[in-house]
């Protein structure tokens, strides 16, 4: 197994591109960056590398153990890498979709969304608590098919590197053919938006075709200003609060909830409550559509993960 980490090698490039985008912001869009927000996002990135070092080894060991039971012998060839990259991206799509539709997963992934800015430093705003979710389980089919865990790790690294450059407002649109197939700054701005029309859309990592295939694609509308972040903005730059707030929220909600509803606060979509006192993204979108006087099929009807829009 090669000892090769593409993300580690990419770090100087990340720093250089953040620097270039900052200069662009200074010239054209001073509010695209904010020092405290930047510091928080980058501290998230640094902390996530430490968390990754601690938990990554354990996951690799688990994958190597399970790889013994593989169905096929997949060689270390270029075509195997290409296939692994595509399948890993498909697994990423579903991990990411669960990350938004199941509060247990969201508690970890919310870290990436809690900035009200959308710039290259936001890309580095990575979770510290991913190991507390079951995201790794989505990669198990690849291991059991016979892809070596090292190959999967390398593909996942390149996937993460690809996703870095799309976190920018400096690029409006890529060529049409590229927008049709690949995830782009435009598609991913939609994903980070809290505008009701954009909530829980565009989960893609590298290939936007998964969203088109599974009914979660939404195109960016040019004349609507995007606001970024989360539905209830943090209002704080406290790093530890930013890291753990949703986990604390889940614990508090489960503690206070009646017995029959406790698990709902872990397994249902973010915003779900047993008494309807908060709003899910589906509810926010439905109310917005009502105000617009439009009718549209809510995303939950296309979503087999957490379909209900009404509180149980």
């Amino acid at each position: 197994m090669p000892d090769f980490s593409p993300t580690e090698l990419a770090v100087p490039g990340f720093v250089a591109l953040v620097l270039i985008e900052m200069i662009w912001a200074w010239k054209k869009r001073p509010n695209a960056y904010e020092p405290k927000d930047t510091l928080t996002s980058l501290a998230f990135g640094l902390g996530s590398t430490v968390a990754g070092l601690i938990s990554g080894g354990a996951f690799l060991a688990l994958f190597l153990y399970l790889w013994q039971f593989r169905l096929f012998e997949v060689p270390w060839t270029w075509w195997a890498f290409a296939l692994c990259f595509v399948l890993d991206d498909l697994a990423y799509y579903w991990i990411h979709r669960f990350g938004h539709r199941v509060r247990w997963f969201w508690a970890s992934h919310v870290n990436h969304h809690s900035s009200q800015h959308y710039n290259l430093s936001t890309a580095l705003r990575q979770t510290w608590t991913g190991f507390l979710t079951l995201g790794f389980a989505f990669k198990l089919p690849l291991v059991l098919l016979g892809f070596h865990p090292g190959m999967i790790a390398i593909c996942a690294g390149f996937n993460l590197i690809y996703q870095f450059w799309i976190h920018t407002e400096a690029i409006r649109r890529m060529p049409r053919w590229f927008e049709a197939v690949m995830n782009t700054p435009s598609h991913h701005r939609v994903h980070h938006a809290t505008n009701p029309r954009y909530l829980d859309r565009n989960y893609a990592g590298v290939f936007i075709v998964w969203d088109k295939m599974f009914g979660s694609f939404e195109a960016e509308v040019d004349d609507e200003k995007i606001r970024y972040g989360i539905v209830k903005q943090l209002g704080s730059f406290n790093l530890l609060w930013a890291v753990f707030h949703e986990w604390i929220g889940i614990a508090q909600d489960m503690w206070r909830a009646p017995w029959g509803s406790k698990l709902g606060y872990l397994l249902r979509e973010p915003g779900w409550t047993h008494d309807g006192s908060r709003e899910t993204s589906d509810m926010i979108r439905a109310q917005w559509l009502e105000r617009q006087g439009k009718t549209q099929k809510p995303v939950a009807t296309e979503n087999p993960i957490a379909g209900g829009t009404e509180p149980a």
Partner: protein, 134 residues
């Protein structure tokens, strides 16, 4: 430095780069504090904070550093700057308010969101409205 293990060296290098980038953002004066220029801006920011918040009453801080808005249902929304954007909260019965000179000090009772200090035209009426929440 040669005796440091590579992961620690990498961590320290990244930390230096992070601090340098944040310092550069500060030095370039990126992220100016937001201002609410008029009622339109306050209504827009309110809708961004709470989708569909339909304000019937609005008071903007004299310097534009925040606002209080009330909707038809009597909900009161506080907007205060957070970095170069606004962050809003619907005030609950746990919120407290006091008048210090001509500044309204509003505590949302949410520790990390903290307090907001607003200079409003009709401060005593808003104070009364907030005190009667619940």
């Amino acid at each position: 430095m040669q005796s440091l293990p590579p992961p620690l060296l990498q961590f320290l290098g990244s930390l230096v780069a992070i601090l340098a980038l944040a310092a550069l953002a500060w030095w370039l004066k990126l992220g100016p504090e937001p201002r609410l220029a008029d009622r339109e801006a306050a209504l827009r920011a309110a809708d961004e904070a709470v989708s569909g918040f339909d304000a019937v009453d609005c008071a903007i801080d004299r310097d534009g550093h925040g606002a209080l808005l009330r909707d038809r249902g009597g909900r009161i929304l506080l907007l205060r700057p957070h970095g170069s954007h606004f962050a809003g909260r619907i005030l609950t019965p746990a919120a407290s308010i006091r008048l210090a000179d001509d500044v309204l000090v509003i505590d949302t009772a949410e520790k990390r969101y903290g307090t907001a200090r607003l200079r409003l035209e009709n401060a005593s009426a808003w104070m009364q409205a907030i005190e009667s929440i619940g």
